[in-house]
Symmetry: C2
Subunit: 214 residues, 2 copies
DNA sequence: GTCTATATGTTGATAGAC
DNA sequence: GTCTATCAACATATAGAC
């Protein structure tokens, strides 16, 4: 049965003496390109189930060559999730010192987050799967909590200004709202059934006006 | 720093010759109890990062003893996620042959799903993290897709009956709605800041009526 | 049903030539 | 900056006594 009991490292060509890449996918060294391939591999099998051998194959370089550029597997994850966090914070920072009702800033943050999720899909997906096993992951979680706190404050402002219903706890609302936004990473794929704009609009429509026709 | 750089298997007592349990947590063999501990361990570190050695320690049994009852680590995951799937399908099956408007059945399914998520939190969380690495995981994903299909049909019915807005794609709405529901597993903890009923009500309020005051 | 002991392979990472 | 070769630690899983 195809793929049954497949485990990373259970190479299909065990005769191969070492980690020689199957084909030449190399290009002049470039961290961005390396991270792109690495993130893809981490997503496909999960971080822990992906071996440096897998990364070697996927990047068309030997393990040693990868170790020449980064300290190890953990740093690769750290670099990938930092990319996601930087992009997400950029959205918040842009709205931070803007004028206007909080509810409008909130809507723009929802749209901006959705756009970042789509634009940086692999990196954000990795970020959302981080569990805090290592120091690097715990730092990422800490930055995520800071992000969530600022979101919560924004929702709180919108409630106080009377543009968001006041019968629900702001922290609870924030969690559910961005739980919905973040769930995009579970199914959204570029070129899939729904395009970016349609998803963004549906997200805002559902979040602000709900399922029932008005 | 407590737990810094902790990795499974990096035992804090490396002098220990073998997998002897630190304390006696054993009880007459019981699959339910075993699964409960196992699910907890899988959640804490992730499935791949949890070794049989970790499970041995956590259950107060040796690895061999665990292998006496199950074929291996993969079967433990299979049993755990099957539990979640059975509970979720039970919710749908209960509504399946009920009368009344689809929108009311949809609300009950949302509430029922949220209740299952909370009641079977570890198992559902594991289910939602399954990526399809092994045959057992792929079977779980297949059952999940079947579940999502039935949800989508229910949303479609509610739209046709005019009780859910018709300007949004039913599949897209289903994904966002249950993305929000499923996001509970990321933060809900029994005894935490919010209780089950509050969360359930907020979920339904947000889903059906949205953030804006009516 | 639990244990001790061990087989067998993979893992992340390093040494050192080119 | 890439390679070949290799390591020590750890993984899943099994054998067989009690």
């Amino acid at each position: 049965m195809l793929g049954a009991h497949y485990r990373p490292g259970m190479s299909s060509t065990p005769a191969e003496p070492q980690s020689r890449p199957a084909r030449d996918r190399r290009s002049p060294y470039n961290l961005d390109e390396l991270l792109e391939v690495v993130a893809h591999e981490f997503l496909e099998r999960g971080y822990d189930a992906t071996s440096m051998e897998d990364l070697s194959r996927a990047t068309g370089r030997t393990k040693s060559s990868i170790y020449h550029h980064v300290s190890g597997k953990e740093e690769l994850l750290r670099l990938a999730v930092a990319r996601a966090l930087d992009a997400l914070f950029a959205v918040l920072d842009e709205e931070q010192d803007r004028q206007g009702p909080a509810v409008e800033r909130l809507e723009r943050v929802v749209r901006g987050s959705a756009r970042v999720l789509v634009a940086e899909l692999p990196y954000v997906t990795l970020l959302l799967r981080v569990r805090g096993n290592t120091e690097g992951e715990r730092e990422a979680l800490s930055r995520r909590r800071e992000f969530d706190k600022r979101l919560s404050a924004l929702v709180g402002d919108a409630i106080r200004e009377g543009d968001v219903r006041a019968d629900l706890d702001p922290r609870l609302v924030t969690r559910l709202l961005f739980g919905m936004v973040n769930s995009l990473v579970e199914w959204f794929r570029p070129g899939g059934a729904h395009d970016r704009q349609e998803v963004e609009d549906a997200l805002v429509a559902l979040a602000f006006d709900g399922l029932r026709p008005r």
